[in-house]
Amino acid sequence: MSTEPTTARPPEPDPASSAGTTAATTNASLPFEPAGVTWTAVSPRLAAARLTTIALVFGPLVLVLAALALATGASWLWVPTGVVVLLALWGAVLVPRQVRAMAYAERADDLLVRRGILFRSLVVVPYGRMQYVDVSAGPFARRFGIASVQLHTASPATTASIDGLPPAEAARLRDRLASRGEARLAGL
């Protein structure tokens, strides 16, 4: 499976695309690298799924705009076409990096979820605080063989969702979280 555990410093061949996780971690990214934590990256197929979504949304738009521009001969119509193409390209560059930045780690008493490059966030969810766990997979996600696991505590601010897990891993994580949550169950 593509979710083999990686260490805190995964061997990333491409330095440009791994701002947060390479050995070249700067001081500033240190807060997001707690000591002794083994991060598990999410499946790269999530990037493929998201890129497909981008292609499906922007592709027809570009085609329609280009067709209009050709048909009417209005040269200004190429401006929005170019903008849309640039947006799509930007998304295409960003998505794989974002997906690489997403990771989770199971510790003895809590689950860590990390995401984001520009705006980073790290969430610590104690197992005993979990109210329920959602596993969901949309039509695209199923096609790419991924599912997402979302943890819910009594706080709506807990945004601990892990997208892009292989279904088997998602099921394992769900059962693991449920059993650990039960063992450490606390009230509110």
Partner: protein, 518 residues
């Protein structure tokens, strides 16, 4: 009695109904709504309305109103017939719904708060609504409307006692005294049976075997109301003064000056017309605040914090111990000279209701002493030798006064106004978070009430080596976070706080607060 709604966990005789006057009180709403809507439409054209009312139109209008009233009351009556509730040792059971039946069970050990609410009309006829909050998200509470006021209070004491882990006396001892009272409203059969003649004997009336503690006049109720001790009350003059010192009033004054100047410059009084809707809107907002905060009193009892407030709609809240998830003290700019504070709390279950902002106030306008007292109500042990000094440092201190860990000096680039106020202090029992320079804020979260923790960092913060630390609490007015801490400090805090919350939870007191933890 409907056979389809059967619950084998509840003995038949335990089922009760709400007061039979309920449909009449609830049916009124539909009548008022129709009259308001029709009146609003007709008011567009005053003359035609007058014509209509002059002739036989009067009768038609009256007929329509009567018809709507009948339909509304009829529906409410059917709904009343289908609504039943029962209290067992573990849970409150509620069956309701006419077309779509609902059966709800609220577990008493998950009870978060019990409120007795009396809207004006209900108060005039001596009725009250009982609301139970459990932490199940939006609309998960149980609302019992309407009960006779003494019944509502007796039921509240009973629920709190059961939730606290006390057990009711065995059925043999309690009901013997009031066996004759087997008719009508189950809760108080002896005293008021003649008044409640409308009650059909459908739910299996309170029989002698009922395990429900019935408080008849002749015997002691099974659960007496826990004694309470008043802690503070809000004088009306202070509430009015504080309301006048709000941003709303400042906005209104600015608007008035603007309109007057505009009218003077343009020599056209039409500019003043804009003030009428403004007065209505602002007046409504101000009235809402005075109404909610009027005669605000807080008391402490073994059942937890008791709050009573309200002018037209009166509300008596009881929040059991350990149910407050977070506290926040806020000082708007205009209250600084008087050193007044507003104290808000997060209680699971209060967060999402329609009038959530009313229920989550622990003190509308507190002096500094009262604010410290309010904090003490929630958290008697702040975990430091000199709690008052800590509170003072949190309320008005800057930098590292009072042992706070402040944001570093470089945070001024991202928050030039209030960077000196950002700070956090960890005590043995709670996390104290200080922020805001113009609007001062202090949030306190007991360690065992932390839901989850987070850390966030934007691009600017990253350049400066800063990070924000976030504590996730249940829905409510308090969203505790410390902005712009040093990155390493934030990371260490995240790690330690996760550990601290875990150990605090392990030793926290039981959900049933009068029972020893097993």
């Amino acid at each position: 009695m409907n056979a389809s709604v059967h619950d084998e966990h509840v003995p038949d005789e335990a089922w009760r109904r709400v007061h039979p006057v309920t449909p009449a009180l609830k049916g009124w709403k539909s009548v008022v709504a129709v009259v308001v809507i029709v009146g609003y439409q007709a008011a567009d054209d005053v003359r035609s309305a007058a014509d209509l009312l002059g002739g036989p139109g009067w009768l038609i209008a009256l007929g329509i109103v009567l018809l709507v009233a009948l339909v509304g009351w009829g529906y409410a009556a059917i709904a009343w017939r289908h609504m039943r509730f029962a209290v067992t040792d573990e849970a409150v059971h509620l069956h309701s719904g006419v077309l779509f039946r609902t059966q709800r069970q609220a577990r008493l050990d998950r009870l978060q708060a019990v409120d007795v609410v009396q809207p004006l009309v209900a108060r005039l006829v001596g009725l009250a609504e009982l609301r139970l909050e459990v932490a199940g998200g939006s609309g998960s509470g149980v609302q019992l409307a309407y009960l006779r006021e003494p019944d509502a209070q007796a039921l509240r004491s009973e629920l709190l006692a059961l939730a606290a882990g006390l057990r009711r006396p065995t059925a043999a001892t309690a009901p013997a005294a009031h066996a004759p009272g087997t008719v009508s409203t189950p809760v108080d059969p002896t005293a008021h049976a003649p008044a409640d003649v409308g009650t059909p004997d459908a739910t299996g009336s309170t029989s002698a075997a009922s395990p429900v503690p019935v408080p008849p006049a002749s015997s002691i109720p099974a659960f007496e109301e826990a004694p309470e001790q008043e802690v503070y009350s809000l004088p009306m003059p202070r509430l009015l003064a504080a309301t006048l010192r709000s941003a709303t009033v400042v906005g209104l004054v600015v608007l008035v000056i603007g309109a007057v100047v505009a009218a003077a410059v343009s020599r056209d009084l039409g500019a003043l017309a804009v003030l009428f809707p403004a007065f209505v809107g602002f007046g409504g907002a101000l009235w809402g605040r005075v109404n909610a905060g009027a005669s605000f009193r807080a008391a402490l009892s073994p059942d937890g914090i008791r709050l009573r407030h309200g002018l037209t709609e009166q509300r008596a809240q009881t929040v059991p111990p350990g149910r407050v998830q977070a506290v926040q003290l806020t000082q708007p700019l205009w209250w600084r000279r008087k050193d007044w504070w507003k104290v808000d709390i997060n209680v699971a279950g209060y967060g999402q209701g329609e009038d959530a902002s009313r229920a989550t106030v622990l003190h509308p306008v507190a002096t500094r002493d009262e604010a410290a007292t309010a904090l003490w109500l929630v958290l008697p042990d702040l975990g430091v030798p000199e709690p008052r000094a800590l509170v003072d440092a949190a309320l008005s201190g800057v930098d590292d006064e009072g042992g706070f860990t402040p944001a570093p000096r470089r945070a001024r680039w991202v928050d030039p106004v209030s960077w000196r106020r950002h700070g956090v202090r960890v005590t043995r029992t709670a996390l104290v978070i200080r922020s805001g320079r113009l609007i001062r804020q202090v949030a306190v979260v007991p360690h065992e009430r932390t839901q989850s923790l987070g850390m966030e960092q934007g691009p600017l913060q990253r350049r400066l080596g800063l990070a924000s630390f976030v504590v996730h609490s249940t829905p409510g007015p308090v969203a505790p976070r410390v902005d712009h801490l040093d990155g390493r400090v934030a990371a260490a805090l995240l790690d330690e706080q996760a550990e601290r919350a875990r150990t605090a939870r392990a030793t926290a007191r039981a959900e049933q607060w009068m029972r020893e933890r097993s």
